[in-house]
Assembly symmetry: D3
Homo-oligomer: 133 residues x 6
């Protein structure tokens, strides 16, 4: 049985490699490389797979999962600049793929080993990403 | 090839174990344990996997799948109180996980063995569940 | 300028007049009259119209509007049985129309007179209601 | 890591086998067999699975994926009659299943072998299809 | 109080004036003029404004409104070719604007005079139309 | 008859008055005042009201409206930092209300006088704004 909690966070970011020239950054990342940043309403689905507890009928209490995502993801990234404010992205280009791997690792460390984890991220309504480790 | 029919049903329920005290029920299930019930617009996706029939270009006629879900799920649970009205939940706490397993079993019994079945349930726009037996 | 805060609450209800026979209730309200209740995920949009404050660029701080809706609507009706738990519906059939008028009045009393108010309610994805006093 | 580009195309179609009588076509395909066609807003999700390039943080630049879908799918099928205008459906009944297999093959031929491909199609908001070869 | 019933119908159409040359039709209507038609999943919202009946708590029983839309709109236009199958569009180019005026008139004739009527139509997720006579 | 074109743009912004202390900015604007910015996927609906041209069946060709919004709104604000990159917001705090007034004025200047204009903006899925001059 898989259970999912949907959440959101709004952040600014910029795609940019400091070891590349501005020209190279613009060539590869286009307008996503704007030095003054742009931003998104990120939508995150956190999927946890495990057995249904016969006593409670829950895989995991979704209030616990909601709080886990809040503490380890939303509180860190909501209304933040991923490049400048978040140590989790030091040395990491905050593409959606990298954001999702960072989120996966933050949640994986804090989720009981008996659960499998999958995360899904909408950067825009047309660009979606999925990762399960 | 996987094909899916989306459907909805609106129901009341309460999370509650009669072998627990009211205090224990409230501690575990919170406001979901309200003795007077609360309710949801449940959204169900029924996914059937199988080969495409070369003659019709269908895995299964979706009108047949629609009727199957109507007869075995919606007609039973729509505008019902899952705890009080539905024999399928006798002795079962109607958490979304348990609701989904009940639905899976009802559909599995009535779907040709050559098809694989997966069901997905939204209890709210933020809480989602998936089960494939 | 109109500004809106979207929110949700999940509740059980039953359409029923005690001064009518069960037959009459069923004839008029159909399965919505089920004695054991059913329920919905209600989605509410609260629209406030007013001038943009030149100092803040806000009509009203949406955090204030969010809290207003939480205190006067969601905290009262979420995970409740509208017929049994809510004194606001004593003597009132909780049709979506009546729910929306009750919500309008609760918010209108607590919103500054300089603002106009409009509320919109989804009872299901296909049934929507709008009221502005 | 899986990445997805969502796109749409609007097309007319008819479900019909020329080797069947009109009666048989109507019996099997119902109103979908209307000789004068009907149509849909198709929504397509194109999912590509691969490794994240450590240099760019991308699995594949989504602008490239967007263009791939535009050239090989949308430009061919948008505002078209799938039965009459599209050689891809010669001898093929344009059921959603067959449309999705045609789309899969068009994209598979034009996508680097190192990527896995999955496509998902909404024919209506209630009928969805998924295929991965 | 305004109440709304949402519904859908899937149809083929073509924008074309027989008194114009093909060149003129293509110049004005672009790919919407494809002689072989294309199609859409139309989404219709039917809004009825009136007083809340103090006895039932309804403006109008939404089951009645649902049936009204089914009989006068969906049954006529669903899975149809608006240009070829529907006498309502004889001599009328089925632009979304004209479709909406036709729908408005069909519903207006069959709705009690004490109600005001407004209709809203999505031709695609990005193109929307609203009409109230 | 009202017609609408839906569009999106992704931008960074910060709510901040330079004539206020950092403390005052934080007190009033909270985390929206983050000096390093945050961002949103803005969704814009542009509604134009006018008569239906009896010759074309259009109020306005939606391709024209689409281009108008692209040139005067999306091309300016998409992937931009509203505070730093956009001269339209010099001296203006980019609250959603102010963004919407700026957009209204940009479109109003470039839209034929015979049309009425209304704009609607989603900053998040829960915060919505509407303005008609």
């Amino acid at each position: 049985m898989k259970v999912c909690r949907r959440s959101t966070f709004n952040a600014a970011h910029r795609l940019y490699r400091p070891d590349w020239s501005d020209e190279k950054n613009t060539e590869v990342f286009g307008k996503c490389s704007n030095p003054n940043f742009h931003g998104h309403n990120y939508v995150l689905e956190t999927w946890v797979e495990g057995d249904v507890d016969p006593e409670t009928g829950y895989v995991i209490d979704l209030k616990i999962l909601k709080d886990l995502v809040k503490v380890h993801v939303s509180d860190k990234f909501d209304h933040a600049n991923l490049n400048l404010d978040c140590k989790e992205f030091e040395g990491i280009i905050p593409t959606a793929e990298n954001i999702l791997m960072v989120i996966y690792n933050l949640l994986r460390e804090n989720l009981d080993k008996r659960f499998q984890l999958k995360v899904k991220l909408w950067e825009t309504e047309n660009n979606v990403f999925e990762y399960e480790g």
